[in-house]
Symmetry: C2
Amino acid sequence: MRAVLLAAGEGKRLRPYFNRPKPLVRLLGLALIERNILTLRECGINDFIIITGCYSTEFRDYLGNGEKFGVSINYLHNPDWEKGNGVSAYTFHKDYRQDEKFILLMADHLFELDLLKAFLTEAKKIKQDELLLAADSRLEEVFDLDECTKVKAWENYAVKLGKGLDDFNAVDCGLFIGTGSLLEALANSIARGAYALTDAVNLLAEHGKVKLHFIEHSWVDVDDYPGYKQAERILLKSLVPAKDGFISRVINRRFSLRITRLLAATAITPNQVTFLSFLTTAAAAVSFAMAKPFIGGVLAQLASILDGVDGEIARLKFLKSSFGEIFDSILDRYGDYLIVVGMVYSWYCATGHTMALLVGAAALTGMPMSMLFKEKFRNVFGQPFIPEIHDGILRYFPANRDGRLFIIMLGGILNLLPATLILLAVGTHLQALIRLYNVRKAT
Amino acid sequence: MRAVLLAAGEGKRLRPYFNRPKPLVRLLGLALIERNILTLRECGINDFIIITGCYSTEFRDYLGNGEKFGVSINYLHNPDWEKGNGVSAYTFHKDYRQDEKFILLMADHLFELDLLKAFLTEAKKIKQDELLLAADSRLEEVFDLDECTKVKAWENYAVKLGKGLDDFNAVDCGLFIGTGSLLEALANSIARGAYALTDAVNLLAEHGKVKLHFIEHSWVDVDDYPGYKQAERILLKSLVPAKDGFISRVINRRFSLRITRLLAATAITPNQVTFLSFLTTAAAAVSFAMAKPFIGGVLAQLASILDGVDGEIARLKFLKSSFGEIFDSILDRYGDYLIVVGMVYSWYCATGHTMALLVGAAALTGMPMSMLFKEKFRNVFGQPFIPEIHDGILRYFPANRDGRLFIIMLGGILNLLPATLILLAVGTHLQALIRLYNVRKAT
């Protein structure tokens, strides 16, 4: 399926803040239109048509032929863009291929990846003369409702659309699956002197041809500065993975998302952040070894926070890689090792107790068991191990990395290294054995 | 698809050795027919018809309705079994369902799992009036060629079959995919007084209806005592996994297969062997700690050998389980840890060198890295990490478990614990880093 991006408007309200065409406004490291292209690429779309109007060379200069994104981008220009966005959308008829279904969207809107994925799944189900429109019926949550195009829906078909509609139960998200019938409706409505896309959609709605897909994820029309900030919030929130550890969710993400926001505009890569996180664990280890447990603890927690940032930046800027995933896993283990060695060194130097060595060995060997078990589980059962489901009562024990580093931070701050190491040693091995027992019981 | 197993014959030649119907002769822990049923179950077949003749109650008593194997078994009796195996095969017509394709095999033959899998894949391709026959064209490798039914093949169709054929280029493996046309041919040939299955197959061959599948795995007709021993050899050989470590392939399997052969007839489970292997590592660790490195080294190698036996018994007796796979992985890690701790303890007690502790920590943390990396690799890339392919020049460094335990054995026997630990520490971490580098380069 090809994607048609409408980027013909002037975007007056945001221009004073950024001095560039609105779809080229950078949000957390990527231009709005660039993010839409990359998000659609994640959904398997590789062929893009951009409709330009008020600005044209700016888009060509910035996006080129799409090669740098691994996609193909072509441009259609609408000199009459001022008449209305229906005229711009209609420009696509020059390139339309018989019986083609295409996804049409506003280049300056922000859509969550999962929103687009769910929408594209619905695309297969519409008839050749229908239009599919993404609609949001969660009115109390819609951002800047006044400015939205309202939709009067009956079941999952649109009855009427309009900005000034009084009786409505959803809003138009600016996202469509179009067929030839949309281009026909556009031609008809333009012939009657109605130049907005909504005019053509209304023509189709009159004949019961506008099917609605009620979205369940976030989107926003980035029309002004508050919209821009809202887009930033949505985007940052979307970076938190569904299965996140307790400490990570409650503490780390509050900091990591802030760091990610700061780093987004820079060229720093996820792998560089991974390495930075590793260096921080090394610094924590040295601090522990030099009998500065408070600093060591704080650095360990900082490393834990940075351990979230690499993934956030990877997801934010479409920089996920297989190497990055493995690199992160392996460096995390080395980070764990260094910290434990630093702590044991400190304890042993201070006391000379053989106990420190034994507990240290137990903690060292326990640290990788959680990952070992989870990876093996996933390979054997073909599905991820999810502590919340598979760990039973043990899910409250912080034996995942976020939890372990949190315990280390507490131990450092409170200067309780022996107790911390004993807790880590017992906890990690106990967890491995109980997990084994649970698998035994379940199979 | 249903399976029809011919078990009607008398099996005179093997009777003196085992005093039971030939398909019920136990080979490495399972009766021949039981193994065929379980092997076919692995291929997704759950519905079995057993044609009895000379013996009947013996089969019913041993196999029952199949519940204990998780399959359904029904029996058809042929009182005229002495006439020939064609009459026995024809007995199936009583239960034949319109247009059904079925797999027909001799209950007392041994077929490798991969042979049956490949054969069943071909089953889909034959026409409704054809017969598919498994044929072996590797004549120089065929066991007891004299006793085999020979096949004259032209391309992949049989022209003529017969025990006394002079001009032949393959032999009949006693394995068929039958259709209604086979039952018709059997009826015709029985009417003409020709009672052997081969007679009916020849009738079909005359009309070019016997398609051949040239097998590439091992099989044997267990007809006499040499055949029985040959079956044992084939079966044991098939237990060695394709991707086996160098030390494992060259040394360990020579011992582990012997142990497996001894244990096959007992009720010992793979998980019990896994635990036994773990206990052996514990004994090795204690030996090292008690300054008996020679014994420690030998026990470590024994544990390594036993580490192969659990998988062999699991494959041999269809006892593979998800829990077993995880249990083995986790216990292997604990075994590794114990041995290293024992060695470090010995070194440190003897010298008091801090160096022993540092090297020990490095070796302890290095031991699980190989598994960590491999499991993660498989999850990320969706395919197993194969040292022979992915490790480059490093594949010669014995950093997998069989190699590590071999190094430990040498270190123990030669009483070179410090050097062994240093080698393990450096080798395991170096391997992890080089593997990371290789992934980086390849992606």
